[in-house]
């Protein structure tokens, strides 16, 4: 037996290829949407992996530092560093801002990391160019997604930083590239007021009889100093010594210090479950709509192709072709169309994924699910055409 569907596709291959191409672009978009979702999850995991932390200490009753804002004192790291099992503890700050480079600016997650301790938690673990931050001030490491290059001088608030190193795949959960700067600079930048505000505050403090007491020399200076420094950070990252139970330590730290402590699994649950939940739903909606549109297109095309062959189908039936053979022919054509579409979609998604600003992760598993979904949709979409074909009366072939 020959493949009727195959012969028909070969005969009118132009029609099939063009329709398959259009369908393929749609499938490509669908695969890309799934890739965007996977990319967000992967970004979150890379963010956690690269922080090099086993525990995150944040403000009590918050889900910081990524999903909510969190503020804790910058000496807490010293307290927790002495707990048994804690290998390293380091403060970090995170804040998203527009970083200026000359006349343009890039959106970035500016991360403050401790200096002096090589490889402390929070440090970028791998550089693709340049070196780590070695000075306590005015050096920066940028992710290449920011478009910055070694030697670029960027401006964060009033200070200028020289880019000394470059990383890859270090982005926030929103996809913004990370820029690392020394912790002290970051603390200052996060709370820095403009000059006018500082002068205004100093004037108000001086005018207040509560602080400005000539009888207590040094009080005013001390007050002004506390007002213009920032003793807080967003989180403390802890790296455990091997062989210690991190959940036990987490429990102790949170009980004795009135702090919130998350382990890796808890942090991941917040990042992947809560932070990107809305985006994930959004993508889910897109996937559903794209699936429906694809199904409608396949159904419409297969139905039209079948109606165009109704005479031949009547003849096939008259000369004794079984219904299953005819249904099989239509089903195979729908599947064939789906396969062409899937191939085009997979290739185009692979081709255009790197051009997207946010990371797109195309996994073989998603491709497989996509293929199965396309096959199911095509099979479903051919039902209409199959019904039309099976209703054809073989007597029609004989005519009046």
């Amino acid at each position: 037996m020959i493949s009727l569907a195959g012969r028909d596709i070969l005969h009118s291959w132009g029609k099939f290829v063009f329709t398959g191409f259009g369908l393929g672009l749609l499938i490509g978009v669908t695969l890309t949407m799934a890739g965007v979702y996977r990319g967000m999850i992967d970004d979150a995991q890379v963010l956690l992996d690269n922080s090099g932390a086993d525990l995150w200490i944040v403000q009590q009753d918050t889900q910081g530092p990524y999903a909510e804002s969190s503020s804790i004192y910058d000496d807490i790291w010293r307290r927790v560093a002495s707990y048994p099992g804690v290998a390293e503890a380091a403060s970090v700050t995170y804040f998203t801002m527009q970083v200026r480079l000359g006349t343009r600016d890039v959106r970035a997650l500016v991360t403050g990391i401790v200096t002096g301790e090589f490889g402390a938690p929070g440090w970028p673990r791998f550089l693709i160019a340049g070196r780590q931050i070695t000075r306590d001030h005015y050096e920066a490491i940028a992710d290449i997604a920011s478009g910055l290059q070694l030697g670029d001088v960027i401006q964060i608030r009033r200070n200028h930083y020289t880019v000394v190193g470059l990383t890859r795949r270090m982005v926030s959960s929103g996809g913004d590239p990370m820029i690392f700067i020394p912790l002290k600079d970051a603390q200052e930048a996060q709370f820095l007021k403009d000059n006018d505000a500082i002068i205004e505050q100093r004037r108000r403090t001086e005018a207040s009889p509560v602080y400005n007491r000539p009888s207590v020399p040094g009080l005013l200076d001390a007050v002004i100093r506390t007002q213009s420094t920032n003793p807080t950070v967003n989180a403390v990252l802890i790296r455990m010594k091997p062989g210690f139970d991190s959940s036990l330590i987490a429990e102790q730290i949170s009980r004795w210090n009135r702090l919130q402590v998350f382990d890796r699994a808890g942090m991941e649950a917040i990042l992947t479950g809560k932070l990107i939940a809305t985006s994930a739903k959004q993508i889910g909606m897109f996937l559903v709509i794209l699936a429906i549109v694809s199904a409608a297109i396949v159904a419409f095309i297969i139905y039209t192709l079948t109606l165009g062959k109704i005479r031949e189908i009547a003849v096939l039936k008259l000369i004794g072709t079984r219904n299953s053979t005819i249904a099989g022919m239509i089903l195979q054509q729908a599947i064939g169309l789906g396969l062409i579409g899937f191939a085009v979609g997979k290739i185009s998604a692979t081709f255009w994924a790197p051009i997207f600003p946010k990371y797109i992760l195309l996994t073989p598993m998603d491709a497989l699910y996509g293929l199965i979904a396309v096959m199911l949709i095509c099979a479903l979409a051919s039902i209409l055409a199959i019904r039309a074909a099976l209703r054809v009366d073989p007597a029609e072939a004989i005519g009046g």
Binding site: I2, L4, H11, A397, G399
Partner: protein
Amino acid sequence: MTHGIRIEHLSKRYGSGDTAVDALKNVNMAVAPGEVVGLIGPSGSGKSTLLKCLGAVIKPTTGKMILGDEVIFDNDWKIKDLRALRRDKIGFVFQAPYLIPFLDVTDNIALLPMLAGVPNKEARARAHELLNALDVAPRARAMPAQLSGGEQQRVAIARGLINRPPVILADEPTAPLDSTRALAVIRILNDMAQRYQTAIIVVTHDEKIIPTFKRIYHIRDGVTFEEAGEGRAIT
């Protein structure tokens, strides 16, 4: 005498009640193996209806139909698989050739035996034999759209013959052809009837070919009358 086709007192009523149409009232026919008979009648007389009944695509109301020595209808179908009956016992040739546009000439013909489970190679060999007999062998690899009307009709005849059916039903097979080609088709049908001992019924309006039949059935208002034809030789 064994009959290729025998029809006795066949009737067919379309619909029921007030709108009922008695398309066939009393049809009696017998066509011997190797014989080509004409079926002639005015429009609406029931020719197509008769072919559809014989072709087992619509169900007659009453009467009897015998194919070879098998009773296929006796007030009800006497066999279960009408599709297999059509495939194995009846060849169809239509006014328009209705070839499958996406199959080449060979496979258009070989499709029938393939559907019955004959291996592709053997089915194609049988198709080639017929294409030779019908003088279209040089076009064996052509697609239907690349053939002339006459060639298409010959391919359609080959398709009707490929399973060596004991019966061939032809509905206006010469209508689209000029007189030379029309006569050529009738000669082919006569040759094939002789060669394969096929009983052939040709429904026609075509004045050019009517004189070639040895026997003609007239049908009027669903009733058949037999008449001797001229049986003129085709030159």
